[in-house]
């Protein structure tokens, strides 16, 4: 029999799956966080240009929280860009805290840089934050989470469709490995962030498209950090013995679940399937391991985000954009093969 990785490799696809039974997915909200259409402005947004308008400028970069590998990679990419194109970069850490983000917006306004790449925390709260910066005369683009209203040029990914492919791939793998076994889903959630709700709904939409009989047993609040996700996932497993699918809304959530499974003795590819989004390094080693049930992952690409934001910001400084300008970056499903993992990591998470 094939190992788990081989099965996952065989069932893996980069394509979205369409609902087999529309009734099974009709109650799943298509998007929460302020869908503004996913058409991207045409242009070579992911290329490194010859010269940039940012050269010689003072640039402020805000991140949701530097403690996450994704934002750390963003900071790394930006620092490389700053060195290459010779601009002054100041990084503001939102510490995943709404209050800190509010204050850093004001501090950025006080510091009056030439350009701001802003990562909102909450799509709703972001609107007035960006407006405030604009009113202060700053050039702003947002990246990552998109504000619920159109206020400034932005870079984002489709937080519904990216996880939806993960849902599809998880379902494909599940069917391949377990046949018609009923699927029982648990979510390690972070219910207060709209972006996260999109992720969760996208996953469910994808999964139920292929396995319409799948049921969601429970969503627990894992807080998006491993020390809270771990006990929450342990409780989830404990309370729902028939559970065989777990979706973690980010890598910390799925890793917390993996650790809980290890402790409960159910860590095995035969248990079912764990899926998540982000694609950070530790999850990649789970993805590529025959011993691990984590077999579906979409990457949230820090390099793509950094470069697209960088280019968009330069264009904005040059006055070549309007508030409607947007760049949608991919949310690539990561092939569980050694090759797939390596390609992903080398580009997005260079050491």
């Amino acid at each position: 029999a094939d190992g788990a990785v081989a099965i996952a490799g065989k069932s893996f696809s980069t394509e979205l799956c369409e609902p087999a039974d529309p009734a099974a997915v009709k109650d799943i909200p298509a998007a929460v966080s302020g869908f503004t259409g996913y058409a991207s402005e045409p242009g070579a947004w992911l290329d490194q240009p010859e010269a940039s308008a940012l050269t010689g400028k003072r640039v402020a970069l805000s991140v949701m929280g530097l403690g996450q590998p994704y934002f750390l990679a963003i900071k790394g990419h930006w620092e490389r860009l700053a060195a290459k194109y010779k601009f002054e970069l100041k990084v503001y850490d939102g510490r995943f805290d709404a209050g800190t983000v509010q204050k850093l917006v004001d501090d950025i306004i006080s510091d009056a840089p030439d350009a701001v790449a802003f990562a909102p925390l909450d799509s709703g709260a972001a609107v007035p934050q960006v407006k405030r910066m604009l009113e202060a005369g700053l050039k702003v683009v947002t990246y990552n989470v998109q504000p619920t209203e159109v206020v400034a040029p932005r870079v984002f990914a489709n937080d519904f469709d990216g996880p939806r492919i993960v849902g599809c791939n998880a379902a494909r793998y599940f069917k391949e490995k377990f046949g018609d076994k009923p699927a029982v889903i648990g979510i390690v959630d972070l219910p207060q962030l709209p972006q996260v709700q999109d992720r969760k709904n996208g996953f469910l939409y994808g999964f139920k498209s292929l396995i319409p009989t799948a049921v969601v047993a429970q969503s627990v609040d894992g807080g998006g950090v491993i020390d809270k996700a771990n006990p929450a996932a342990a409780d989830l497993l404990q309370g729902n013995p028939t559970l065989n699918v777990i979706f973690g809304i980010n890598n910390d959530s799925s890793l917390g679940a993996i650790a809980a499974m290890k402790a409960a003795g159910s860590y095995s590819p035969d248990w079912g399937v764990v899926a998540s989004v982000d694609g950070s390094e530790p999850v990649m080693s789970e993805l590529g391991s025959d011993a691990s049930p984590l077999k579906a992952e979409s990457g949230y690409p820090p390099y793509d985000f950094s470069l697209a934001t960088f280019n968009l910001l330069a264009a904005t400084v040059e006055g070549k954009t309007n508030p409607n300008t947007q760049v949608v970056v991919g949310y690539p499903p990561i092939s569980p093969t050694e090759e797939g993992i390596k390609t992903w990591l080398t580009q997005q998470y260079p050491r």
């Binding site: 929460v32 966080s33 530097l66 100041k90 990084v91 503001y92 850490d93 805290d97 709404a98 209050g99 509010q102 204050k103 850093l104 004001d106 501090d107 306004i109 006080s110 510091d111 009056a112 925390l121 909450d122 799509s123 709703g124 709260a125 609107v127 007035p128 934050q129 407006k131 405030r132 619920t148 209203e149 219910p191 207060q192 962030l193 709209p194 709700q197």
Partner: protein
């Protein structure tokens, strides 16, 4: 019965006057400074703040600009408001950990009503009432059941956060009336509205704590609850009022914050309680009650605000900011303490030299 009284009297009065007269006079300058230790402490804390401002202004010239002070003023206003109320609670030996969550809950209460078309003043009143109500529950349970304020307000911290999320899981924005942000963003002269509101709150608290019976009762309850009770001070009523006010001020802070940031947000105010308590303690109030000054707290709140603003503007690396923040916090309090003691010691030594 008063056999020997007269002879004692004369002698003792003389001796008291002569014995202490000299030293009292020679000390008068220092005495007037030291007499009110609390006032002295406040002055020293103010010096620490000035020192911080001077240092930060070297790192970034933009730190010392009107617009940054306005920024600081706006950002510190909610802290000043909540911390003024917390100071009174802590002087009375209480504690309110729920302020951050109450702030968030009241922010979404006001915003959700405003979205439904309720006139803003009414929406704000409702938020204040809601804050007062949670404060009342806090106070009533703490006082009547005689359980620890930490647990009760930790409980209501969770409850209020839950209520905030149940009202709206994410920030309310769409449908807010255009004048929603007026309160938070207008200026009167160079002064942003939020800081004016905060100033009024702090002044009223300061005045009430020094000049009203209620204020005296607050100090008495915190200093020696038993003595206060035996003197006929309405201990329970005083305590409950303080928690009600604390809830209301958290609500006001929530209103100021959410009209400044332009949304009603259930996520704000996480960890706010620690910031508030830090401001209060830097300002010279202690957990053991009976002592403290609102003006000290105001300076403490500004120190807390200047700290993160200054570090951001100085371009300190994000992770080093944690370290710097911690160190400056400790250093500020240590310097504060040392200078304070130094002044007191000099004051005490005087008469010996004389």
């Amino acid at each position: 019965m008063s056999v020997s009284a007269s002879s004692y009297d004369k002698k003792s009065k003389n001796s008291l006057q002569n014995g202490e007269g000299n030293s009292v006079q020679s000390q008068s300058v220092w005495r007037s400074i030291i007499a009110d230790r609390q006032k002295l402490q406040t002055i020293v804390t103010l010096l620490v703040l000035l020192l911080m401002i001077i240092v930060f202004s070297f790192f970034n010239p933009r730190f010392l600009t009107l617009s940054n002070f306005q920024n600081l003023a706006r950002n510190t206003a909610p802290l000043i408001i909540a911390a003024s109320a917390m100071t009174a609670v802590m002087i009375a030996r209480g504690l309110d950990l729920s302020v951050g969550s109450v702030l968030a809950a009241c922010s979404v209460v006001a915003a959700s009503l405003a979205v439904k078309g309720v006139p803003l003043p009414l929406a704000f009143l409702a938020a204040l009432a809601f804050g007062a109500f949670i404060g009342f529950l806090n106070g009533a349970i703490i006082v009547k059941m005689r359980v620890s304020p930490i647990i009760v307000t930790l409980g209501s911290l969770n409850i209020a956060r839950g209520i905030a999320y149940l009202i709206t899981p994410s920030a309310i924005l769409v449908g807010l009336p255009p004048n929603w942000s007026t309160l938070g963003t207008t200026k009167i002269g160079p002064f942003p509205m939020p800081i004016l509101i905060a100033a009024v709150v702090a002044l009223v608290y300061s005045w009430a704590s020094q000049k009203t019976k209620f204020g005296k009762h607050v100090y008495a309850v915190g200093g020696n609850e038993e003595a206060a009770r035996l003197s006929g001070v309405p201990v329970e009523r005083t305590l409950i009022s303080l928690y009600v006010l604390s809830g209301m001020m958290a609500a006001l802070a929530g209103i100021v914050l959410s009209t400044r940031v332009g949304s009603g947000d259930p996520n704000i105010g996480v960890g706010f309680e620690l910031e508030v308590i830090a401001a209060v303690i830097i300002g010279g109030t202690s957990l053991s009650g009976g002592e403290g000054r609102i003006m000290g707290t105001v300076i403490g709140a500004i120190i807390v605000g200047v700290l993160s603003n200054g570090l951001n503007l100085s371009g300190v690396e994000p992770f080093w900011q944690y370290v710097a923040q911690g160190m400056v916090l400790i250093a500020a309090v240590v310097v504060d303490k040392r200078v304070n003691e130094g002044v007191l010691r000099i004051g005490r030594r005087r008469p010996r030299a004389a």
